[in-house]
Symmetry: C2
Subunit: 175 residues, 2 copies
């Protein structure tokens, strides 16, 4: 399970992250999200994604969110050796591209907790605090502890994915 | 494009292969074939497969056969880093396992032509003669030349996949 909370953030939040956590790396992540013809993933709250960064390409399935306070959901992922072919195979299998999400991500580590400071094209800056664990309760405690350490108020956390936020903005601007 | 012809074969065919072609390797390939809920791949003549051998795992999409004389069809493939997760992701995306096909394959090379001597569980021994190329006409000439070199009669070639042969046998024995 991917146990995660997310907040809007500014540079001062990243200063606090830097003061407590270990910097791991910075990368640009280019995500292509797909929808299914079998069921609408916007309604079923699932996600199918091909992610490319400077190092590798990953194919990821995410199940529906299972927790009212966090973005916690099941995540399954494989590394694949070819970005174009992965997109093409999904297209041939009947999946349709919803849209691309691009962000610059700086990754920090605090014990078992991964902290991502994200600058998302079209959305702005966010922090994601995440633990991958099947012990959801313990993982939730850890991510909320880190949020508190960073001065973030859990009541301001955002359960929407970047994709959902971008799609909402698109539909609003079209309306 | 995967341009391919296939024949039933016995040990004498492999002796002839050995006398003209270079032996590359022997491996056991374990293939899991999936069907789609969007369209029945048995009717659309497509295939979705996860293949595992001793070295790696590959996810493969095959389009419908496009040539009356051969098994020629479009093939797209990525290497993935985890067999179980690949199966699980496809299952979550709504694909259903049709069946597993297991074979011991000895691979030989003759110029650009790949010759596979296969012993398929439940079906017996076959030879597949294959060229991967977008120039289908030239590739067809090459695979037919190798068939002739091996003393195989093109009129005996088999267009059915191992999966189709196994499914036919199953439905016959159930009838």
């Amino acid at each position: 399970m991917e146990v995660e909370i997310k907040f809007r953030a500014d540079e001062s939040v990243e200063d606090r992250i830097r003061s407590v956590a270990e910097f791991i790396c910075e990368k640009v992540e280019e995500d292509v999200y797909f929808n299914s013809q079998v069921r609408d993933f916007r309604e079923s709250d699932e996600a199918l994604r091909v992610r490319r960064d400077e190092e590798e390409v990953r194919l990821t399935y995410k199940g529906p969110k299972v927790d009212p306070e966090t973005k916690t959901r099941e995540e399954m992922e494989v590394v694949v050796n070819d970005y174009r072919k992965a997109l093409e195979i999904l297209s041939r299998l009947g999946f349709r591209v919803i849209r691309k999400v691009v962000k610059r991500r700086r990754i920090y580590r605090y014990g078992e907790v991964t902290i991502c400071f994200d600058d998302v094209e079209g959305l702005g800056k966010f922090v994601e605090i995440e633990v991958n664990s099947d012990d959801v309760d313990s993982a939730k405690r850890k991510v909320f502890e880190v949020a508190e350490l960073l001065g973030l108020d859990p009541s301001n956390s955002i359960r929407e994915s970047y994709l959902e936020m971008l799609m909402r903005d698109t539909s609003t601007s079209e309306a």
